[in-house]
Each structure stands twice: as structure tokens, then as C-alpha cells.
């Protein structure tokens, strides 16, 4: 008995030794949004993982508790939730977000500069980056990508990132640069943005991930909900173009349960990338190249910002681009680019990115 008591005493000592001196990691979803929605309306929640159980380091206590009047609650022995009143955002009923996916490969930085330039003109309220952020696996490349996003944030445009399959190749770098959470939930003005890591097992959700999503959706209240995940939810199916260049993979694990949740909770839009091509599906999995205005969630796939372009579905347009989504009066008002001949919004089309001089597209 004594030797086991000694063993456990040494175990506790070594646990303290690992965590000493007290430090903490902010479990923020991304650089621009350090807080998740709080448990009470009008509040936000900061979360930190501490190196020692029930010890919030002094710097965190000062910033969150003393200066902002936050209340500390320990979600687990080393996870502190600090709830503070939400800052006033000043967003009206109109809200604009931009979604991008499948960014650039080294050597094509001019496209990223062009994107920043266009964002400076467009002034979205937030940018969502839906995976395949870094096609090179080095720390320097991740830092370069982070640098681009910081420039957006300096203009007051928060950035929320979700990982793609390429992030799995340098997963510790992704976690270091974009926050220690694969899945996260953030409130932006009238929106609740949920980011999901669909790249576990390349294209799957897991059962507990689905449970977490259900909780987020149930707590959304009157917020308009938008979900971003890298993999398209539906396959191209009958709308597939030829052999689609070997691409066209879609969500495999719990796809039906995911779609049911989106319909049940009236999710406005589910944003994806991965195909390097534009597409929009309805909740039945039909490609909607007939109209942009149909009831139910819009399952939107957005073309690549800078990597090779593909043609996956019968939708003929191929270009680098991003997706602009406009919300008005608590609903998704517009998500496609340009008007058709009848004056109504064109279906599917994303906003083309202007090509910098000397740079050519490289469709497959």
C-alpha cells in the first residue's frame, strides 16, 4: 500500500513539474475572433487551457477578470471559461462575408495580393477560409499565410479558418498558426459561423463531432447560421462533367445526418471548397444551375482562390475566385455573382478574382 501511495505522490509531483511555471493557451478558434458565444445572451466566452489544474496565470486573470469583469468557470480541471459582456459590434441588419478556399501554391503570391486588394475595396464584415490554406508544409509558408490574414485583420476584417485535407500534412503547423481547435463556433454580427474539420479520415465527420454540431445549432437562437467545412456535402452525381479529372470527392461519414441537421435547424448556407470549381446543391443533393433562389439550405462549393482549376460538374465556368454572401434582415439575400438576362441573380457563379499582370490560370 505504501509503495502505491508513494507512486501516486510521485505522479502528482511529476504532473506539477510538467506544468510549472503556470502558463496557459488561449483556445481561440482563429486569430481574429478570440471568443466563442457565451452561455448567456450578450456575452462572449474566452477559453484557456492551463498547464496546471485550477490555476489561471496572472496575465490572463488581469486581462479577462480584472479589466473586463469576466467570471471564471472551470469547465474541467485545466480548462477555464471566462464569460464577459460582448463588445458592441455596430453591425446593422446588412452583413457581408467572403468565403475562399484552396489558396495558392508557392510562386503565385500575386494572387493573394490581388485578393487582399479586392477585399480592401469590398470591405466584407468577415472572411471565411474553408480549408486547403497551405499547399506547402513548412512553418515559413504557414507564417506567410498567417501574415496575409493578419493584414485583413488590421483592416478590421476578422478571419475564421477551417482545415482542409492539405492541412493534415502539417497538422501541428495548422494548430499552431490557426488555433488549437479543429471545430469551432463564433458569433459574427447577426451570424453564427460554425467551422468543421471534415478532413479527419480525409472526408469524414465523426459521431461526437456531429453531437457537438447539434449542440451549436440548438444554441444558435435567432442567429442566422452558416457552416463551413472543406469537403462538399454532396457528390456531383448525375451533374458530373466527364470523369471530372479524378476530383469530385464529397463528405462520406454521417453525410445524411449532417444534411438532416442543416434542414432541421434552418442553416442558411453550408460553404465548402475542395473541388476547385463552383457548384450549388439543394438539400436533396441536386445541382441548382437553374436558379439561385430556392428554399432550404444552400450547399455551396466555391472555386479555388489560386490553385489549379477543375471542371467537376456541368457548370461551365472555370475561374479563380471567392464567394460573396450578403445577409439582410436575418436571411441570406445573395450568394452568387452577377445578374442573368432576366435581372435575377445568376445561379452558382462565384466572384472571379482579377488576374494580376503576367499570371495565367492553370486549369487541369
Amino acid at each position: 500500500m505504501t509503495r502505491w501511495m508513494l507512486s501516486y505522490a510521485l505522479a502528482l509531483l511529476s504532473l506539477v513539474g510538467v506544468g510549472w511555471p503556470p502558463r496557459a493557451r488561449v483556445d481561440a478558434p482563429r486569430t481574429g475572433i478570440p471568443a466563442e458565444p457565451g452561455a448567456t445572451p450578450g456575452s462572449v466566452r474566452y477559453r484557456a487551457t492551463t498547464s496546471l489544474p485550477w490555476v489561471l496565470p496572472g496575465a490572463f486573470r488581469k486581462a479577462w477578470v480584472e479589466e473586463q469583469g469576466g467570471q471564471v468557470r472551470w469547465a474541467s480541471p485545466n480548462r477555464a471559461d471566462v464569460e464577459v459582456p460582448a463588445p458592441r459590434t455596430g453591425h446593422g441588419s446588412r452583413f457581408r462575408i467572403v468565403q475562399v478556399a484552396d489558396l495558392i501554391i508557392p510562386g503565385r503570391e500575386a494572387l493573394m495580393e490581388q485578393f487582399l486588394l479586392e477585399m480592401e475595396r469590398l470591405r466584407p464584415d468577415a472572411v471565411l477560409v474553408t480549408g486547403d490554406i497551405a499547399y506547402a508544409e513548412s512553418r515559413a509558408w504557414y507564417d506567410a499565410m498567417l501574415g496575409y490574414f493578419r493584414r485583413l485583420e488590421l483592416q478590421g476584417i476578422p478571419v475564421l479558418a477551417a482545415p482542409g485535407n492539405h492541412e493534415r500534412k502539417a497538422w501541428p503547423e495548422y494548430l499552431r498558426a490557426f488555433g488549437p481547435l479543429g471545430d469551432h463556433c463564433a458569433d459574427l454580427g447577426p451570424l453564427r459561423v460554425i467551422s468543421l474539420d471534415s478532413a479527419h479520415g480525409r472526408d469524414r465527420l465523426t459521431p461526437s463531432q456531429l453531437g457537438w454540431l447539434r449542440d451549436c445549432l440548438e444554441r444558435a437562437g435567432d442567429k442566422v447560421t452558416v457552416i463551413q467545412l472543406h469537403h462538399p456535402v454532396f457528390p456531383a452525381g448525375p451533374a458530373q462533367h466527364g470523369e471530372a479529372g479524378g476530383s469530385g470527392g464529397s463528405l462520406q461519414g454521417f453525410q445524411k445526418a449532417f444534411v438532416d441537421l442543416c434542414v432541421q435547424h434552418r442553416v442558411a448556407a453550408v460553404l465548402s471548397g475542395h473541388w476547385h470549381a463552383d457548384a450549388v446543391f439543394d438539400a436533396q443533393g441536386r445541382l441548382r444551375d437553374d436558379t439561385a433562389d430556392f428554399p432550404g439550405p444552400k450547399f455551396i462549393v466555391t472555386t479555388a482562390l489560386g490553385n489549379e482549376l477543375r471542371r467537376v460538374t456541368r457548370w461551365p465556368e472555370v475561374h479563380y475566385g471567392y464567394r460573396v454572401l450578403e445577409f439582410e434582415g436575418g436571411r441570406l439575400a445573395r450568394y452568387t455573382h452577377g445578374d442573368g438576362p432576366d435581372g435575377k441573380p445568376r445561379p452558382i457563379a462565384s466572384t472571379p478574382l482579377g488576374l494580376p499582370p503576367g499570371l495565367k490560370e492553370f486549369p487541369r
Binding site: R25, R202, P207, S208
Partner: protein, 291 residues
């Protein structure tokens, strides 16, 4: 001690590699295979050479294993294990190899107490997924220094006839909570409860009662649990798999340990291939119930 190494070291090693990836283009990343090779070949190499009967060597190995584990865990605490960092790989491999020796030297198992130790450190994994490694390193030090000592010898009522198959199937089932919870800490509680289940199965009067269950029943139960996993009942699932593990472990002979460890590792790897989408038609629908 041997199950401590198997679950807390080998299990956590694979867990970390699946959580953070394995950069095989970095030569030092291959170092983590050294303890894996060690568990497969060292029992044969060291057999009858008297190396494992030198207390000073075992004490030194245990201490080195703990030191490596401590500094490794400290370096990745609140961060991530990067296989591109040679020092991390060296510490991790050192921890595994050095803490393996006291386990090999042990004359017998520690019964429920060892499983409780595993449960404690598995639960500590909710604080940080790398922490169970510290339990393996500290366990090696305590065993090597004789503090744990030899427990009552086990007299299994039945010997495991097919240890390879049994531990292969167990290896398939064991990491389900890892895949499901990924970076969330709840999976650690599942594995903590699993160890408690194994401790319960190792209590002598329980072992007597479940000792006569057919081996095929236990293997079938482990196989069924590999499919019947659900986050809503993950603790009950862990307890059931723990009972199976404890019962299997109680029947494992000393000479069967290395094949069982190899089979367990193979099971983890096959599970990884399935959950990481190895495009196996038909099987992928069994990966998650309700998928």
C-alpha cells in the same frame, strides 16, 4: 508493468502520431520505431543473458526512461508533438526503450493495481494527450527501482491460445475513442474507464468467475465493440472493452507477450487505415455505427 508500457507508452505513441501526423520525410521521425522494434525483438535477444537481472542497469534504465518522458511531455505540453523536431523524437524513443527494460525484467504482473495506474494516467490524458507517456516513464522508473516489486504470481485458469488474434482485434477496437473525439479531451475518460474495467476483471474473485468464458467469446466481444461504438455510451463501451481486455490479459502467458504487443500494434495500424479512409469498400460502413 508490461501492460503499463503497452497501453500508456505504445498506445499514446500511436495516439500522438494519429493526432499530429508523422512526417516520414524527416529522418529522425523514424526513431519512434526503435521502441516498437525493441518490444518485438528484445525479449528474444535478452533471453537467458542475465542482462535483466542487474538491478543497477534496470534502475538506470527506469530513471532514464522517466527523464526522457518528463522532458518530452514538458516540451509538447499545451502545444503539439511535431515529428519534424529531432529532439522530441529522440526523447520519445528514449522514453520508450528505457522504460521497456524494467517491464521485460518483471517476473509477474501487478494485477488490478497496474490497471488502476493505467486508469489514472489515461484520465490525465484529458489534460493533455501526451501525459499518459509520463505514466509509462514513471512506471518504468518505479518498477526498475524495485518500488513496485513483484506482485502475486498469476495463475490463469485458461491460457490464451491465440494471443495474436485476440490482441489484433483488441487493437482494432481500442482506438475508437481517439478517432471519435480527436482533439477533444473526453476520449481520455473513455480510456480511463476502460482501464478500470480491466482492473475489475483482474480482481481475483472476478477473474475466477470470468476465467472460464471461452476465448472466442472474448475475441467476438472485442470485435463487436469495435463496431458498436457510440459517443452517447462511450463510458459503458470503455468499461465493457476493459472487462474483455482484463480477461484476455489474465490469460496471457509471459512468452506470448511480444506477439500480443505486435498484434495490438497491428490492430492499431489497421484501425488507423480504416478511419483514415483507406477506401476499403464495404468495411468503411462498419467504421462508425449509423454512418
Amino acid at each position: 508493468m508490461r501492460q503499463t508500457w503497452l497501453i500508456l507508452y505504445l498506445g499514446t505513441l500511436v495516439h500522438l502520431l494519429t493526432l499530429y501526423g508523422w512526417n516520414l520525410r524527416q529522418p529522425s521521425a523514424w526513431l519512434v520505431l526503435v521502441p516498437v522494434l525493441g518490444v518485438l525483438v528484445l525479449p528474444r535477444i535478452l533471453k537467458g543473458r542475465g542482462v535483466l537481472e542487474r538491478p543497477l542497469l534496470l534502475r538506470g534504465a527506469g530513471l532514464a526512461g522517466f527523464a526522457c518522458a518528463f522532458f518530452f511531455v514538458r516540451s509538447v505540453h499545451l502545444g503539439a508533438y511535431e515529428t519534424g523536431v529531432p529532439a522530441s523524437n529522440l526523447l520519445l524513443a528514449g522514453a520508450g526503450l528505457a522504460s521497456l527494460l524494467p517491464g521485460l525484467a518483471e517476473a509477474s504482473d501487478n494485477g488490478p493495481a497496474a490497471w488502476l495506474w493505467i486508469g489514472f494516467w489515461s484520465c490525465a490524458g484529458s489534460l493533455d494527450p501526451a501525459l499518459p507517456l509520463l505514466g509509462a516513464g514513471l512506471g518504468g522508473m518505479l518498477a526498475g527501482s524495485g518500488i513496485w516489486g513483484a506482485e502475486l504470481p498469476l495463475t490463469p485458469p485458461l491460457a490464451l491460445r491465440r494471443p495474436f488474434l485476440a490482441f489484433l482485434v483488441f487493437g482494432l477496437a481500442y482506438p475508437k475513442a481517439w478517432w471519435d473525439f480527436q482533439l477533444r479531451p473526453e476520449g481520455a475518460w473513455t480510456l480511463g474507464v476502460l482501464a478500470l474495467g480491466a482492473a475489475f476483471a483482474a480482481v481475483p474473485w472476478v477473474r475466477q468467475r470470468i476465467g472460464h468464458l471461452p476465448e472466442s467469446f472474448l475475441v467476438g466481444a472485442a470485435g463487436a465493440l469495435a463496431i458498436l461504438y457510440g459517443p452517447a455510451w462511450h463510458l459503458a463501451w470503455g468499461a465493457a472493452l476493459g472487462l474483455v481486455l482484463g480477461s484476455l490479459w489474465g490469460r496471457l502467458g509471459r512468452s506470448s507477450w511480444a506477439p500480443a504487443a505486435g498484434a495490438y500494434l497491428l490492430g492499431l495500424c489497421v484501425s488507423f487505415a480504416l478511419h483514415a479512409n483507406a477506401w476499403v469498400p464495404g468495411l468503411r460502413h462498419l467504421v462508425w455505427l449509423g454512418n
